[in-house]
Every structure is written in C-alpha cells, then in structure tokens.
C-alpha cells in the first residue's frame, strides 16, 4: 500500500469554491468521505491524483422535504440518512440500505453523493434509488441540470458527469399510497461488507393483492445496477401467489450478467439473485397479508 504524502489536497468550505477549483485546476479528483477512494488510491486501483476535498462543504449536508420531494444533500452521511425521520417516512428502502452500507465507522463517513459517483455496481444506495426513480441535481459552471439515476450510468464507472461538475443533491418523489418495498443484501460478513448481490423490490398492491406496479433492481450482477423488466412483467397484473413470486424471481436471470470475482462466482450470484428476490417478494406478501 502506498501513502498519499505526494498528493496535493485542496480543501474547500463552499460549493462555489469547489466549482471554481474544479474549473481552474485540471485533473482533480473529488473526495468526500473517502471510505472507498482512499483505499483505491492507496492500493493503486485508481491512479494517484491531486484531490479536491469537499467533505467540509456543509451546505450539501441536509435532508429536506419540500414541494412533495425528498431532497438529500450529496454530502449527507449514511448515518444521517439512516437516522433521518424524513427518509424513514418517505423512502424507508433507502434507510434500510444506509444501515447495511458498512460499520458505524463507515456510515459516519461515507456519503450518498460519494456512493453515487464512486459508481461501484455493488453500491448499496443504488438499488433503492433505481426503484424510487431518483433524480440527481448536477451543478457546474453552466448552471444546474437534472438526470435520472438510471441515465447517470453509461457503463461500468462511466458517468454522465463532466470534470467540472458535481452531484449536489438526490431527489426522490415518494411513490405514494399502497407502495411497499424492501432492500436486500448478501455480504460475506454482516457487520461490514461489500455486497455479493444486493437489490430492492418496490410493489404497488391493490387491496385484493394484485400487483399494480412492480420495480425490481439488482446490484453487483452487471456493469451497472440494473432493473429487471422480465421480473416486473411477470408481477404486474398478477396476484402475488407463491407461484407468481417464483416465476418473477427466476425471471431476473434474463436481465443480469454477473461475473466471477473475489466475492463470488457468476453462478452463485445468479442463485443469490433469484433467491433474494423471491424472499423479498415473500416478505412483502406476508407483511401485506397477501400470503399467510
């Protein structure tokens, strides 16, 4: 492991300063909590570059609910997200994911913006953001723009983000009455682990238990987080019976392309994906009284 003694670190306190530096100094990499980036720099996974430390830009640390939209500042930590009453009320899926991101030490430092821009396909915040149709507010010298989370990722670690832009805010419109969902994660250690497979399932059920809307997202099984249209098609319009749940769970293999790596084989990831989607559907069915 190498040290970072030869790396210059620019420290800023405001978003304006951050954007100015990004425009005027070439080749800066933005560091927020640093829980993944510092390891990547020290192990040489990413080349050593000078850093723009935005971790103290307090104006990007907040959770607000305004005009029917939950707004989370990019530098909000996972501990803050997990503890936020607003997140628990309007996006409980995201609170569940925040609690599994890592140890308390990691939750106290890792930020949602960092998790998004770090762009690991195993990032725990992403499957919830995919099923919640979250939108990102991106700011830069040309003003602000909004991108849907699924459009932000163009491929493995390829982002719709220019070198002089920053992700400033995550916006979530609460899905509304009748929606029930859960996050799931399989790690090799419960206390603090990177996901072998993770995902989120969000359903809208009629009082009779018919699925009106279904959103299934999986992580760590493709170059980016993916939705599973095959699984969603099985669910929509059907009653949430064990047979439908199995067919929907098995359908996810059509939409994923896992690889073998240090945390598990592709075959293992396919098995996990099917089983976890089934277990999560079953959990939702039980909680809503559709199955006993």
């Amino acid at each position: 492991m190498q040290h970072l003694a030869d790396v210059e670190v620019y420290s800023v306190r405001t978003l304006r300063e951050a954007l100015e530096l990004l425009s005027s100094v070439k080749g800066l990499r933005v560091i927020a909590g640093g829980t993944d980036l510092i390891v990547q720099l020290k192990t040489g996974v990413v080349p050593k570059t000078n850093l723009l430390d935005v971790s103290r830009v307090d104006e990007l640390r907040y959770v607000r609910f305004e005009d029917g939209i939950l707004r989370i500042g990019a530098l909000t930590t996972f501990m803050e997200i997990y503890r936020s009453e607003l997140v628990r009320r309007h996006a409980p899926l995201l609170a569940e994911a925040a609690f599994t991101v890592g140890s308390f030490q990691i939750m106290n430092k890792g930020t949602i913006g960092g998790n998004i821009v770090n762009a690991s396909p195993a990032a725990d915040s992403l499957p919830p953001l995919y099923v919640l149709n979250a939108e990102l507010k991106i700011v830069g010298p040309r003003g602000e723009r909004f991108v849907r989370i699924q459009d932000f990722y163009k491929g493995y670690k390829k982002l719709d983000l220019m070198a002089d832009e920053l992700v400033a805010e995550v916006r979530i419109r609460p899905p509304g009455e009748g929606y029930v969902g859960h996050f799931f994660k399989h790690g090799l250690r419960r206390g603090d682990a990177i996901a072998v497979v993770n995902g989120a399932v969000l359903l809208m059920l009629s009082p009779e238990g018919i699925v009106r809307d279904a959103r299934v997202a999986l992580g760590a099984v493709a170059p980016t987080v993916v939705r599973s249209p095959s699984s969603e098609r099985v669910l929509v319009g059907s009653r949430l019976s064990p047979e439908v749940m199995w067919r929907a769970a098995e359908a996810v293999v059509n939409d994923i392309s896992p690889i073998d790596d240090v945390r598990g084989s592709a075959a293992y990831r396919r098995e996990l994906s099917v089983n976890y989607v089934f277990m999560t559907l079953y959990r939702i069915a039980r909680e809503t009284g559709v199955v006993a």
Partner: protein, 157 residues
C-alpha cells in the same frame, strides 16, 4: 521531519484529546499515519488500513470513524479523541480488565473508543446495541463474549 516525496506539507491545527495541536504534514497523510508516525501516539492501532477491521477507530467531532480513512485535510479545525484521551480509571477500561476482555490487545483500543462512544449516547445499552455498535471491530483472538460482557458491565455502573 522528512516525508517521502513530500513536496507539499501544510500546517494543520486540530484539537487532540482536548488539547490544541498543530502539525506540519502532507494533507494527504492519514490521521492514522500522523498519530503513529508523526505524533508518536501509538495507542491507535493499524490493522488492515482499509476500513475493514476497526482497530484505528477514533472519534472525530464526537463520532467514530476510521483514522486510516481520514485525511489530515479532513481533521483541520476538528476535535479528535483517541484511546489516550480516555481516563485510565474510566469504568469502561476497568470493566475490560475485570472481565478479561483483552487477549493480544491489538483490537482493544478501537473497541474501547467505539464502546466509549456508544456509552456516551446510550448509557445503559442492551446486548443488541453493543453488538451493533461493535459490528465494525474485529477481534481475531477469542471472540466477542467477554468484550460484550465488559461493555454491558460498564453500562450498568
């Protein structure tokens, strides 16, 4: 102090265990490297140096974080508490001794700091709360039974 390739150093001021401190270090140095190799405060241990083991747990502005994943630029103007900042007679440390919750001792400082934070938030934690708070701290000697017993005992005092 000489640093390898140290083109850049910066005066960084922060509060360390209640005392105003100033060090001249590269801002890309981690807090762990600064504590151990510059300030020679070796209570904070280095285990994995990648945020997995929890040995280097310190409090920054009152919350537990990994010193190995904290750059010096990130502690500028902040308050840091290391294991050296906890009174040796503190009931938590006494409980670790009384319960025999230490074997090789390498994980102990990080666990003490994490547990100290828990007790400051939840004076009488349940076993479940102790296990959650310590889920990021690995002990490879004996397991966690005595450690958890010690924290629970400190919580009863």
């Amino acid at each position: 102090m000489k640093f390898p390739h140290s083109a850049r150093t910066r005066e960084i001021r922060f509060v360390l265990n209640g005392r105003e401190t100033s060090v001249r270090v590269p801002p890309g140095y981690t807090l762990l490297e600064t504590l151990r190799y510059v300030l020679r405060m070796t209570g904070t241990k280095e285990g994995c140096a990648r945020g997995d083991c929890g040995e280097c747990t310190v409090l920054v502005d009152g919350v537990p974080v990994h010193a190995c994943l904290t750059l010096m630029s990130q502690v500028e103007g902040r308050s840091v508490l290391t294991v050296e900042g906890i009174d040796r007679q503190h009931r938590l440390i006494r409980a670790f001794v009384e319960e025999g919750a230490v074997q090789c001792g390498h994980c102990t400082p990080g666990i003490v700091v994490a547990a100290y934070h828990l007790l400051s938030q939840v004076p009488r934690p349940t076993e479940e709360q102790v296990r959650e708070a310590l889920r990021g701290n690995l002990c490879r000697c004996t397991g966690y039974v005595k450690i958890i017993r010690a924290v629970l005992k400190a919580g009863e005092a």
